[in-house]
């Protein structure tokens, strides 16, 4: 089977978020970028399924500028076979989905996997857009994925429970835990990743449908009001009479 795994390049989870002086863009200065943690589930699961099938390929796809290549190489080191980078700044979810759909159409992939959302934009949109652009089913968010022949069995999370869903290839799944235990690269993987193919292609369209006008940080908290442990019941009174939340 041919797997296409879409990854995005995001600020490390511990990053303190700041913006450029005009508040139009995220301030990248001094920030460590990582593979989006949700995408790691998609990547590892694709590799596990390929190994279980004893054949097939896992292709990693990123829509980003050249500075994302270290994380694409990391995905190759974890076990992907080859990679494609669409050479463009990811303007919005629609723009990214259009690039993924174009690559997917040309490559004829059986399964297109990605994380539930990116931890920077938190859109949770690309999966459905890609599925709709290609006219194939999407399962989002998927907590479990197994393959048997051309049929995928997935667990889809819904509020308050889950659905067991079966779809035939090709399909799109947006992945989340507890799908698998994300792998980290080993030394052999890092060595072989250097020579694995990484193809750079240009975007097929520059259309976008949304634009960020300005970013802002949440207002700072006023400071914590401490209540003595001996007097813990006092807290409940404050929550009712002062905060008025219970």
């Amino acid at each position: 089977m041919k797997f296409l795994v879409c990854i995005s390049n995001v600020p490390d989870t511990t990053t303190k978020i700041t913006f450029t002086p005009d508040n139009k863009e995220f301030n990248k200065a001094g920030v460590q970028f990582v593979i989006n943690p949700w995408d790691e589930y998609a990547l590892t699961r694709a590799i596990e399924l390929k190994e279980a099938q004893g054949g097939g390929t896992v292709t990693v796809l990123n829509v980003g500028e050249a500075d994302t290549e270290p994380n694409i190489r990391k995905a190759l080191a974890i076990g992907a076979d080859d990679a494609i980078r669409v050479n463009a700044h990811p303007k919005d979810a629609f723009f990214v989905a259009k690039q993924i759909a174009a690559v997917a159409k040309e490559g004829g992939y059986d399964a297109i996997l990605m994380g539930k959302e990116s931890i920077d934009y938190n859109g949770f949109q690309v999966h459905g857009m890609v599925g709709e652009l290609l006219g194939i089913p999407t399962v989002a968010p998927a907590m479990k994925l197994d393959m048997s022949g051309n049929t995928a069995t997935l667990e889809r999370e819904i509020e308050g429970g889950k659905e067991i869903v079966e779809v035939n290839t090709p399909f799109v799944a947006s992945c989340q835990q507890p799908m698998c235990e994300p792998r980290i690269p080993n030394m052999r993987g890092i060595m072989t990743a250097r020579t694995k193919p990484l193809k750079v292609v240009e975007p097929t369209t520059d259309a976008a449908r949304t634009e960020v006008e300005t970013f802002a940080l949440p207002p700072a908290k006023q400071g914590v009001k401490l209540i003595a442990a001996e007097n813990a019941g006092e807290l409940i009174k404050l929550l009712r009479n002062e905060a008025k939340v219970i």
């Binding site: 429970g161 006008e213 401490l226 019941g233 807290l235």
Partner: protein, 325 residues
Amino acid sequence: MSVLVVVECDGGEVKKSSLEVASYASQVAQMLGSTATAVAVGEATEANLAKLGEQGISKVLYDSEPRLKDFVNGAYTKLIAVAASKEEAKVIVLANSNIGAAVGSRLSIRLEASLATNVVELPKTDGGKFVVKRGAFSGKAFADVELASDRKIIAVKKNSIEALHEAGKTAPVESFSAQLTDADFADAPKEVIMQDQAGGVLLPEADLVVSGGRGMKGPENWNLIEDLAKALGAATACSKPVSDVDWRPHHEHVGQTGITVSPNLYIACGISGAIQHLAGVNSSKVIVVINKDPEAPFFKAADYGIVGDVFDVLPKLTAAVKELN
């Protein structure tokens, strides 16, 4: 040029988050000088749907196709697309739920619409633009986003807007058929497994949340969390390390790679407050932190705090709630 809102129903009732979303839609309709129509999905009764009039809804569309009781991405997308054309909807509003995101993203392509998820405020429409404020960077920031397309789809985050209640107002419920075919049910579930709620409150829908971390020392101590949650009518949650070691199920994990909650009250017990955990809770209205370590970073993000042993403090809180009630 109407506003269409998707209301999710469960067990005959409209979900609380959908009452908020319906209120959002009717306020957008008012801004645009138009009316808001609801399209219901899931299992609903006509009486409960009619009550959406209280949230300012003018009309409710309901397709009684039995297979729509469970979530099916393909069928829900078509249902809403058909309703949107019928109503000539320019703005479509959904809950920022798993269902809302799964359907909204497909709809945005089908209807050539701009899509914003995780939206926390009513739109701003100055100067002919349509701008919404949405959460980004895992709750660490907000973005004002312009929706440039003619049609707009908005998924509204839970607890960002107060539900309207104009007592006694009702909306007519119209049966409607989207002419769904078997092909629309390609991703229909083979089986639906609901969590054992045991009379508890569902975390994504909860107004009050009591959450435990490693400081609880083991799953055998969770009765302390559950007792307080039960007394308050709150849902229970946990930190990532707790779900990683299977003390609690994954669906209770709140944080950057778990679920994001925005309740009125979040009580964190024995959670130090790693930045990844804060990402999942920092849009809560009031945060209470109970931790024996006065240096725990969570206190910096809290409104109220108790420096003390959770095993000593929790029973006192539960007793105080019971006394108050």
